[in-house]
Structure formats: structure tokens, C-alpha cells
């Protein structure tokens, strides 16, 4: 069953890729505008400039987004676990999480920049702000959703708190945490792009905006394609890991 659905996913991905290329090509033929170059010209451009001009920017962006994800999981998962496991912690923190959850985090960017400057810290904090709430809430709910019966098995064995976390809480919620991360990824990449348009000379956001300023549309498109590919790859890696560790479901 899992195999069939993953095959379908790949077919879907391939299908949409072909579709995007076809529509893009059609538009560029129809409109004949310099702002819509042909996808093949862009592809050739990527091949020509990637190693020399783009790789460093991609590495910066990748580093920022992966750092943001790692930090969000490192901070958000334990917090969510504590809220799920100890009712008292939940009572104190839940209102805080729920109150701040719907605030559009991008609106906080000016404050973050005033407090933490234009450098790496602000960029990381913005990404964490986008992802972490989803992760906190998901890991809390995952813990709360574990049936009592399962805790009982461990209780009757005299398991320590640490063993309960290792044997029950982490495996029960890991897949859900990855799902939350995957779902938050789209927004996180947008925010990354946005924060990379100032205060840095590295990153795909910078590369794209710089190409735009230089009216080099081929480079600009190359940047957009690479940034999208990066998002897609991260998405896929999380998706595969998720499916691998949740084969028991």
C-alpha cells in the first residue's frame, strides 16, 4: 500500500514538473517578452553559472533553513512534550502559544531586526518563529493522544521517566513532528527569501533580487528555479523519512 502511494506521488511530481515547463514554454513563445525567457534557456544558464555564481548562495540558504528547522525541533519538541506530559506546564504555556500562534510572524520582522540586527541571528529567529509553533502544538497533541493502556504497560514494568520518553513518547510523536515541519516548510522558505533580501550578500534571496536589479532575467529565473528545487528537495527528504519511521501506522 505504501509503495503504491509513493509511486503515485512520484508520478504526480513528474506530471506537475512537465506541466509547469509546458505552460512556461508556451507563455514565453506567445508573449515573446524578455521577462519570460524559455525554460530551456534558463536551464542552460543554470548549468553555466551554477558552480561559479550560485552554489555559495544556495549553501547559505540551505544552512539557514536547516539551522532554523533543527533549532525549532530542538526547542519545540521538548517544550511540546513537557506540555503534553505535565498538565501543569500545559496550563501555563498553552494560552501563550495559542495567543501568539495566529500572529503573522512576518509582521514581527522589524522588531526582530531592531533587537537582533540585520545579520544571521534575525534570519534564524524568523524561520524558527514560523516553524516552532506548529511543532510545539503537534508534539504536545501527539503526547496527549497516546492511549493510557500504553503507559500502563510501562508503568507495570517500573519504567523510569526517561524510559517512558524513549520507548513511548518519542516514537509516538516523531512522525507527527516531521509532518508539522514539512507543512511549515513552504512558509519558512518564503520567509527565508524575504530575510535574505537585506542585510546579507549571500543567499538565494539576495541572488534573485540582485539579478532582478541588474535586469539579468536569465539569472533571476535560475535563482527562482534553484530556490524552488531546494524547497522541493527538503520537502521530499522529510516526506521520505516520515514514511520510513511511520510504517507502523
Amino acid at each position: 500500500m505504501i509503495k503504491v502511494s509513493s509511486d503515485k506521488k512520484w508520478q504526480g511530481a513528474l506530471y506537475s514538473l512537465v506541466l509547469v515547463i509546458v505552460i512556461w514554454q508556451a507563455l514565453s513563445w506567445l508573449l515573446k517578452l524578455p521577462i519570460i525567457p524559455s525554460p530551456f534557456a534558463v536551464l542552460i544558464n543554470i548549468i553555466q553559472i551554477f558552480a561559479a555564481k550560485m552554489e555559495i548562495h544556495l549553501l547559505y540558504s540551505l544552512g539557514r533553513i536547516m539551522g532554523g528547522i533543527a533549532l525549532s525541533i530542538l526547542l519545540g519538541v521538548p517544550l511540546g512534550f513537557l506540555m503534553g506530559y505535565f498538565n501543569r506546564v500545559d496550563k501555563v504555556l498553552s494560552p501563550l502559544v495559542y495567543f501568539t500562534y495566529p500572529v503573522p510572524k512576518i509582521a514581527l520582522l522589524p522588531i526582530i531586526m531592531l533587537l537582533f540586527g540585520l545579520g544571521e541571528a534575525s534570519k534564524l529567529i524568523m524561520i524558527v518563529l514560523i516553524i516552532i509553533f506548529q511543532i510545539i502544538i503537534t508534539s504536545r497533541d501527539a503526547v496527549k493522544g497516546i492511549p493510557q493502556e500504553i503507559f500502563r504497560s510501562l508503568q507495570s514494568l517500573g519504567a523510569s521517566r526517561l524510559q517512558v520518553f524513549k520507548e513511548v513518547i518519542i516514537p509516538a510523536s516523531l512522525a507527527d513532528v516531521l509532518t508539522a515541519t514539512r507543512l511549515a516548510l513552504g512558509t519558512a522558505v518564503s520567509i527565508l527569501f524575504f530575510t535574505e533580501t537585506f542585510g546579507t550578500q549571500y543567499g538565494m534571496g539576495y541572488f534573485i533580487m540582485d539579478a532582478w536589479m541588474r535586469v539579468n532575467y536569465l539569472d533571476m529565473y535560475a535563482g527562482i528555479v534553484i530556490l524552488s528545487l531546494m524547497g522541493f528537495c527538503l520537502f521530499t527528504v522529510i516526506d521520505i523519512t516520515e514514511r520510513h519511521i511511520s510504517s507502523w501506522r
Binding site: E149, R152, L157, E167
Partner: protein, 246 residues
């Protein structure tokens, strides 16, 4: 030796208190098998939850070999009515759970393999619980408890999901393992036949809130060809009468 004195359990819901077990007094000698029988909802599972240290909100005293219940120091093999398997662990890791937590043992030893093979689940080791039938899940739960080599074995209707033939097979397997290890056992069942076949004493509960109606000395315990004997038939009738009165 398990000593239960004046045990009362109430479940609190909102502001209401519902009594579930009412003044239970009983001693289970070391190495004995007691079967517990009674109508559903009379608190049999609740009693096992108390004995396994899961339920701590009770009055009265429960002592195992003179000590208060403490799953950390005692070896309690518990087979829950709903099996209590971990859905993210395959059969192998589910059966290992007990010895992993108690002994920090990481691989199945010879005895473990013997138990798995006796229970007929040695070919299912990499399956997850959702890929097993109810009866197979039950066998995994039984394997986990047996492999632990517990000092106290608590079994909550452990053969209920099995067909009649496998049930009798497993009853015999259980008696065999019990004879080898002489483990003190509290065995909950809703079957009169099973209560008679496995229990040296049979504790009969009233309907809710559960009281002990009678502790019956089982004169047919461990007799050969039990099920074909007159004594067995008489005891059955006797038990049914006691159950009907409650």
C-alpha cells in the same frame, strides 16, 4: 504472598464517586494460581491494576511479600485486557520490552526464543501490531509477560481472543510454564471452564461494585483428563450457582 486487606476502590468522575471494589480481603500464597471470575464490570481489571501498581488511588492495604507494591523493585508480568502492545514496535521489540526495561537486555535469549516458538509467533517477528489478528496480538502480550520471568504474573482474560482449540493449547502451555517457574499468578477470566482448569482457588466476584462472594477450593485442579470427569461437572454447576446468586 500477596495480602489484600480491606481494599476499596472508587472511581471519581466529576463530583460523583462510584465504588468499584468493595472491601476485598484475600491472600494469595507464593506459587499459587488464583483465578478470578465475575460478571463484566465488577472490577476484575481494576483489581489487577491495583496489584500491578498502575492504580494507586485506593484504601486498604495491598502487600507483596510484606512490601508495598512497587513495580520498580518487583518483577510484575502484566497481560492487559487490551494487550497493551506498543504500535510502533514490531513483535520482536514488543516481546523484548519487559526484559529491556527490567534487565537492560537487548537481544532475545534462548528462553525467549523458546517462548516465542511455543506461542507460535516466532515467524511474525517483524510484523507490527496492526498487522496481527487479535489472537496473535494476545500471544505477543503473553510472550512479553512470560519472557520477563516475573515473580508475580497478572493475566487479564489473556486467552479471550483465541479460538477454542488454541485456547486449550495455551492453557496447557501456561500450566507447563507455571510448573517450571512456580510463579504466583492472579488470572482473571469470564469462563467457568477456564477458572476451573487453571485455578487452585477460584475467587468469585459479585456484580458491581465487586465483592468477593466466595473463595472456592478447586478440588479438580491439575487432575488428569479433567474435562471428562464428574468432579469437573459438579464444580461447574457449583460455580454457576454462586455466580447466579451474586
Amino acid at each position: 504472598m500477596i495480602e489484600i486487606k480491606d481494599l476499596v476502590v472508587k472511581y471519581r468522575r466529576k463530583n460523583e464517586e462510584t465504588p468499584v471494589l468493595d472491601n476485598i480481603n484475600i491472600n494469595i500464597g507464593t506459587g499459587d494460581i488464583y483465578t478470578f471470575i465475575g460478571p463484566s464490570g465488577c472490577g476484575k481489571s481494576t483489581l489487577l491494576h491495583v496489584l500491578s501498581g498502575i492504580l494507586k488511588d485506593y484504601t486498604g492495604s495491598v502487600r507483596i511479600d510484606g512490601h508495598a507494591i512497587d513495580p520498580k523493585t518487583q518483577r510484575i508480568g502484566l497481560i492487559l485486557q487490551n494487550y497493551g502492545l506498543l504500535p510502533w514496535k514490531n513483535v520482536y521489540h514488543n516481546t523484548m520490552l519487559g526484559v529491556k526495561i527490567k534487565n537492560d537486555q537487548q537481544v532475545l535469549d534462548e528462553y525467549g526464543r523458546y517462548i516465542l516458538q511455543q506461542l507460535g509467533i516466532d515467524s511474525l517477528l517483524d510484523r507490527f501490531p496492526k498487522e496481527l489478528s487479535g489472537g496473535q496480538q494476545q500471544r505477543v502480550a503473553i510472550a512479553r509477560a512470560f519472557i520477563l520471568k516475573p515473580d508475580l504474573l497478572l493475566m487479564d482474560e489473556p486467552f479471550s481472543a483465541l479460538d477454542a482449540i488454541s485456547r486449550e493449547e495455551l492453557q496447557d502451555l501456561f500450566l507447563k510454564i507455571w510448573k517450571e517457574n512456580n510463579v504466583t499468578t492472579a488470572f482473571v477470566t469470564h469462563s467457568v471452564d477456564e477458572a476451573l482448569y487453571l485455578g487452585s482457588k477460584i475467587v468469585v466476584f459479585s456484580s458491581a461494585p465487586g465483592r468477593i462472594l466466595e473463595v472456592v477450593d478447586n478440588s479438580c485442579f491439575q487432575l488428569d483428563n479433567l474435562r471428562f470427569r464428574d468432579e469437573y461437572y459438579d464444580m461447574c454447576m457449583n460455580l454457576r450457582k454462586i455466580l447466579d446468586k451474586g
